[in-house]
């Protein structure tokens, strides 16, 4: 009995653990782990979702995904959106955060305004911008008139559709990254900045050599969210373009939705899910490796 206790914990506590953890574990297994395992399993079968799972096709589904005409577009768009988020959104968020982390009532008003779109539902944001970009009734044609040019119908243009989506993403998520930086900046001890200032260090140098290095963990988080966010982008795409024109604006998840789920091609969708999963986990692992490698150096 004593040995059992030492190894597993005392029985009364174990009963408490069972009661406390079981609901979470059951939900997690049924709705997270089991589907994930199934995605893997289904990806090797050809199946329309009904009847028994019997037509084993090996890696054909993976080949179908990779060979699909829209897949390279979806992958390309996801990468472009991730890079654009990193290069446009994050520096902008950091630049604004450096002004708005300071404490004053009028500063907090701007913080709230900038954070507003983040709290808005993606579908609402998508529809608002569908209106803004509308070539007949939206805001864009008026801007075009003012500039004496004809604006293209952005969302119907194979080239302009991606920059247009990137702009919506900046609008929607820039405030989120700003808030992460603001929280980081506010946790820098005042004495550090004061000490640098008393030593006569210029504002720019304080920003570059004190504030931004001390923001490292905030930047790590925000880069991670920007990349993972691009990998799972879907809710904005559907109301804005539905992946069009001619598949030009699909992302990985919208590709999965239109070509796997809507057509009930379970095997195909399963293969796409596994690819998405591997990408997400891969990004996380590589990212952590890079960070630890840098921390060791």
């Amino acid at each position: 009995m004593a040995a059992f206790r030492r190894r597993f914990g005392d029985p009364k506590s174990l009963a408490a653990v069972a009661i406390l953890v079981t609901p979470a574990l059951v939900l997690f297994v049924i709705f997270v782990l089991w589907p994930l395992f199934n995605a893997f399993l289904f990806s090797f079968y050809k199946w329309n979702g009904y009847g028994p799972l019997e037509q084993l096709v090996g890696v054909d589904n993976y080949a179908d995904v990779v060979d699909h005409r829209a897949f390279p577009l979806a992958l390309r768009n996801t990468v472009i959106i991730a890079i654009a988020s990193l290069l446009i959104q994050l520096p902008l968020a950091l630049w604004v955060a450096l002004a708005l982390y300071q404490k004053a009532w009028f500063v907090s008003i701007f913080r709230t305004i900038f954070f507003l779109p983040y709290m808005l539902g993606e579908v609402a944001a998508g529809l608002i911008w569908k209106f803004v970009y509308d070539g007949n009734y939206g805001l864009l044609p008026v801007v075009g008139d003012a500039l004496h040019t004809d604006m293209p119908f952005l969302l119907a243009d194979r080239f302009w559709v991606i920059p247009a989506i990137i702009l919506v993403i900046v609008w929607k998520y820039f405030g989120f990254h700003m808030m992460i930086y603001i929280a980081g900046l506010q946790s820098i001890p005042n004495e550090v900045i004061e000490a640098a200032r008393l030593d006569g260090v210029s504002k720019w140098k304080i920003m570059w050599f004190v504030k931004i290095p001390m923001l490292r963990s905030s930047i790590v988080i925000s880069v991670f969210f920007a990349i993972v966010g691009s990998l799972q982008l879907f809710d904005i795409i559907l109301p804005l373009t539905g992946g069009g024109p001619g598949n030009a604006s699909h992302t990985l998840v919208s590709f999965l939705y239109y070509f796997g789920i809507l057509r009930m091609k379970i095997g195909f969708g399963g293969a796409m899910s596994v690819i998405l999963f591997v990408l997400c986990v891969g990004v996380t692992i590589i990212y952590r490796r890079l960070l630890f490698a840098r921390a060791d150096a």
Binding site: F31, M119, V123, Y137, M179, D235, S273
Partner: protein, 284 residues
Amino acid sequence: MTQKRKLSVVGTRPEISLLQWTTIGLITLFILIPFYSTALGGFKTTGELRVNPFGLPASWDGANFALILGGDTFFLFMWNSLVIALFTVILSVVVSAMAAFALSHIRFFGRTYLTSLFMLGLLFPFATAILPLFITIRDMGLLDNPTAVILPQVAFNLAFSMLLFRSFFQELPIELIEAARMDRCGYLRIFWHIVLPLSLPILTTVGVFAFVTSWNNFLLPLIMLNNDTSFPWPLGIMQFQGQYNTDWPKVLAFLTLTILPALVFFLLAQRYIISGLTGGAVKG
């Protein structure tokens, strides 16, 4: 009050350069103009929208709003969203608080493995599991039922909620729990009578977070709900937009009406959303 406010402004006058003010000004316009023209657009006619999407409407004609508020679908959509969100909040908070407490304060075999298993949920979005999830839900006979959205939402919230709860519970004074153990108090009673009453801030944060993600969730209800009487607002508004297509004034009025209550709630709850984000971000 005014004196205090003045002092804080004078005491720590923010240093914001001209370039930063310019950026802030431009971004403010960039953020607010779409909101502004959406809100006004509902009062305009299609023809008016075409020539004057920026300016004030010629007359403040509330017919579009009256049409939507008078119809029965708008309130149904909002009600559905509310029901789904409230059940998601209650279940998420209860289930993840219980598990997080056990994992942070009770020593037992396999505790670290179990913790990492749950934290696996942080690694991937639920889009990766959505298709088999649909099959599971269908085989359970839950399609078109709010639980088809609620239960997976709770399950996918677990990792993040437990992360927030765990970092909070670990900060609780351990003496408190040890003293209760000395008095032969069981863990369930400790959880209920000691830990929960002390955890109000984190309960609110997790709850608000679960509410917002549920309220805005689109992909999951899109897959699970086909019957429009069970639609939450994101599906409802997509259906409405499909119906009225280029009748933008009606769509904009609908948008305004769905956004408005959400904005009020979010402004009140903003503090908790931010603390959840940054709390999770710093620990994660």
